[in-house]
């Protein structure tokens, strides 16, 4: 994903509706080239994001392990955060999180953690110096938003 390039001309010609469908479109995304070097501040930002991902992943994993009824949600969030972490070079180790002892509270804590992570990703996107990194953080936030929508309604 991070190596994809933008189809600007195709976008202008056909609108977003045709962005990923035209035969002349060599990409499947709106991603921009990432050959630009990340500015120093972006390294620090990435460290903050990977830590936030690791903490959310720990909560998701502990929730899945502690409550069978919450396992599908917890495991799906965990897989997402691990995948995002791999894109950023891996997740750091974090300690065992405190998970509430009751299922309803644990579910609420899981969703609150995910909402907080989503906002952290949005903030990181806003603050990224590199456009490509901003785009990646925003896409990660969008992925969290999708899963949150799915599991908050269940």
């Amino acid at each position: 994903v991070l190596a994809a390039t933008a189809g600007t001309a195709a976008l202008v010609a056909a609108g977003c509706d045709q962005l990923s469908t035209g035969p002349t479109d060599t990409t499947s995304s709106g991603a921009v080239p990432t050959t630009e070097p990340a500015v120093d501040a972006d390294g620090e930002l990435t460290d903050q994001v990977t830590l936030a991902l690791a903490e959310a992943a720990a909560v998701a994993g502990a929730t899945a392990a502690g409550f069978a009824a919450l396992a599908p949600a917890g495991e799906e969030f965990l897989r997402l955060h691990e995948a995002h972490g791999r894109l950023l070079g891996g997740l750091p180790d974090v300690g065992e999180p405190d998970v509430p002892g009751r299922r309803k509270r644990a579910r609420r804590a899981l969703l609150t953690t995910e909402s907080r992570l989503q906002q952290e990703l949005v903030d990181a996107s806003m603050n990224a110096g590199s456009g490509a990194l901003a785009q990646t953080f925003a896409a990660m936030a969008a992925a969290v938003a999708q899963l949150h929508t799915v599991w908050s309604g269940s």
Partner: protein
């Protein structure tokens, strides 16, 4: 890519989205497929607002906003609920990509606008039968 080019590109995308959603709405019945009708109507209104917001941003920058095309390509067959849903899902995925592009090329409040629109498009995919993805928009 300049910020103005990115805004113009996204506006062109929204012109197309408004046109296509208008066509999808005309194929959807409020009585026989109320959920789909509501989702399409809501999406249409949202894309209208975004088109207008992008137009305002360009006016504010003393730029002439790109005009809509006289028409946009539509699928031959939109007669079924399934076809409308599939088309709407494709549209939201594509618009998500357009906004990811905007995010990469703008800063400040305009980037915030792009992020908000990308998140909305990602959630809206679910309304049209889409499954959660690892990186919506990319």
């Amino acid at each position: 890519v300049s910020a103005i080019e990115a805004l113009q590109t996204t506006l062109a995308a929204e012109h197309a989205a408004v046109y296509v959603y208008g066509a999808l709405g005309a194929q959807t019945s409020a009585s026989s497929s109320s959920r789909l009708y509501a989702a399409v109507t809501d999406a249409y209104r949202t894309h209208l607002e975004r088109r207008d917001a992008l137009t305002e941003m360009l006016w504010a920058a003393d730029e002439e906003p790109v005009a809509a095309e006289p028409g946009y390509e539509l699928p031959r067959d939109l007669s079924s609920e399934k076809a409308v849903t599939r088309r709407a899902l494709r549209l939201e995925r594509s618009c998500g990509a357009a906004y990811a592009y905007l995010v990469a090329n703008l800063t400040g409040v305009q980037r915030q606008f792009g992020i908000t629109a990308l998140l909305d498009a990602a959630r809206r995919e679910l309304d049209f039968g889409g499954a959660p993805r690892r990186l919506p928009g990319l």
